[in-house]
């Protein structure tokens, strides 16, 4: 007997649509996915974040005074390399193959890269703190070797993608800027040891910071959100052209900003405006996608992420103000630069990452504990692995703490910075509790028997 069955009543009509070419047969077992690799980057990242926030509670003067000192440079590298870059690398090893529908080139290389990353990170932050610039350069070189492995691995992965799209364009751009950030960092360290650089020290540091902050972090957020937001909100890219232009304008703006920052040229405003116009196009596309979404209710992970990217608006205004030609460097404008950096790293990038961690960590744990049980037992959905109410509490604590730290920093109010950073640390603790609730499924999976129609086999 050959029967083509129609779906039961209530099933959609489209299910009977003519079936076009077969792409693949489903696997006989779920594909092997190393959850340990991304998780070790995630854990390194979270430890760095907690250490950094506790560091700010203990030393609020670092935000309440001008930012050019060894301690704030050490903490900034703990946040940027230890927290943000670790998470991005771990997530990329997991998400790039998924987002671009391909496989990671070499997992072994990624494992070695983690070793270099960890040694480089601990050494660099420590040497910044005690201000041994020569050893910063040495540990930075170890980290650079690790980053080289990471870049090679991801570029080889990108080479295998079946279709070069706007997401790949964004990710490739971010990796290009990461390479330049790393080289600029080594240049800044070398320029501290030997006097060969024609550029002003603070200008070099600002150029290095923008390469990393805008080029790597923000560009990565822009690129991956063109995949993740449609996936989680059930919507589609509304204009690929607009999306491509957003990335192109950020790239051109940043390239010009790099040169004009180094040369202390008044043209930096024009290039900042170009990058901001790219971000405006990005915001426009995000709004268009959200308006067209099918999913009414947005989960907390997505709300964190969308709040984070909406903070790009005040950040852009601050950027334009700070690069206004002739703006004098006063105590207040120096503090505004601190707010700018804090809002970028903790407001935009950290909040975006916390939101995405509510997607990444449940995915890794679910895959490890339940992927071989689906169809065999009733398994929880990803959203069931953590507490929604704790997600809401963490969100509001974060928003209040962010606003309070920003105001206290702008006003150079040391006690205000201390207590608002303490609130931020408490917020991180609630986040950690929720992540713990997810991780508990590693050791204690929750499953129920399936309710299958009779007649069943004895092994049901």
């Amino acid at each position: 007997m050959t029967a083509v069955l129609s779906p039961p009543s209530g099933a959609p009509k489209t299910a009977k649509a003519p079936v076009r070419p077969l792409v693949s047969a489903a696997p006989l077992a779920p594909p092997v996915l190393s959850v340990g690799l991304p998780l070790r980057f995630v854990i390194t990242g979270l430890l760095s974040l907690f250490t950094g926030v506790v560091g700010l509670v203990l030393r609020p003067d670092l935000l309440a005074t001008y930012h050019y000192n060894q301690y704030i440079i050490a903490l900034t590298h703990l946040f940027t390399l230890g927290w943000i870059t670790s998470i991005i690398m771990g997530a990329m090893y997991q998400l790039v193959p998924a987002a671009l529908e391909t496989k990671l080139y070499s997992e072994k290389l990624a494992k070695w890269q983690f070793v270099g990353h960890l040694i480089g990170l601990v050494g660099m932050v420590w040497m910044f703190w005690i201000w041994n610039v020569k050893l910063v350069g040495h540990f930075g070189s170890i980290m650079a070797i690790g980053m080289g492995m990471f870049l090679y691995n991801i570029f080889r992965t990108l080479k295998t993608i079946p279709r070069w799209n706007v997401i790949a364009f964004g990710i490739a751009s971010a990796l290009f800027w990461l390479t330049l950030t790393m080289l600029a960092g080594l240049y800044v360290a070398a320029a501290k040891c030997w006097t060969f650089s024609p550029f002003d020290t603070v200008a070099q540091m600002h150029a290095h910071a923008h390469l990393g902050g805008v080029g790597f972090f923000v560009m990565m957020i822009v690129g991956v959100s063109y995949k993740l937001v449609p996936m989680f909100a059930l919507t589609e890219l509304q204009s690929e052209r607009r999306a491509r232009w957003s990335i192109a304008l950020i790239n051109v703006g940043l390239a010009g900003l790099l040169v004009t920052l180094l040369l202390a040229s008044p043209w930096k405003l024009a290039f900042a405006a170009l990058a901001v116009s790219g971000l405006a196009l990005y915001g426009w596309e995000m709004l268009a996608m959200l308006r067209a979404r099918k999913r009414r209710h947005l989960d907390w992970g997505l709300r964190y992420f969308l709040t984070a990217i909406s903070l790009l608006a005040p950040l852009s205004v601050l950027a334009v103000v700070l690069c206004w030609p002739g703006l004098p460097l006063t105590v207040f404008t120096g503090q505004l630069e601190n707010v700018y950096g804090f809002l970028a790293l903790i407001g935009v990038v950290t909040l975006a990452i916390l939101g995405m961690l509510y997607k990444i960590v449940p995915f890794l744990v679910w895959y490890h504990s339940y992927s071989r049980q689906i169809g065999r037992s009733k398994v929880p959905a990803l959203a069931d692995l953590c507490s929604t109410s704790l997600q809401a509490v963490t969100y509001w604590m974060f928003v209040v703490a962010l606003a309070a730290v920003s105001v206290a920093t702008a006003l150079s109010h040391e006690a205000g910075v201390k207590w608002s950073c303490a609130l931020l640390a408490a917020c991180m603790a609630t986040f950690a509790v929720n992540i713990g609730k997810i991780l508990i499924h590693f050791v204690r999976p929750k499953m129920e028997p399936l309710v299958l129609p009779s007649p069943l086999k004895g092994n049901a």
Partner: protein
């Protein structure tokens, strides 16, 4: 004693036990099942997934196979994943739309 025949209801009831873990809804109500063919004791399921490339979703095809092999008359299951026609939320049933809160 001969085995009972495979029925349409039996297949769909079994497939309703397999959920998409991201959306928290079963694959029948999501509209992921395009076609089912029965040849004797062999069932061929032609289906799609909501997003291409996600490794988690590959487990769904595996889950479909396991869930159907639990049915007594089913001895062989083939699951074919296709990307055309592309899945869209419009393919969901009313129950599915209600479940995940679609507009």
């Amino acid at each position: 004693m001969s085995m009972p025949p495979i029925t349409e209801e039996m297949i769909y009831e079994a497939l309703r036990q397999v959920d998409d873990p991201e959306l928290g809804c079963n694959i029948v109500d999501l509209g992921l099942i395009y076609e089912i063919q029965i040849e004797g004791h062999k069932v061929t399921v032609t289906m799609t997934l909501t997003t291409p490339g996600c490794p988690m979703h590959e487990t769904i095809g595996y889950g479909v196979r396991l869930a159907l092999l639990k049915l007594d008359p089913v001895e062989e299951v083939e699951v074919q994943i296709v990307w055309e026609p592309k899945w869209s939320p419009d393919m969901m049933t009313d129950q599915g739309r209600e479940r995940i809160g679609l507009r």
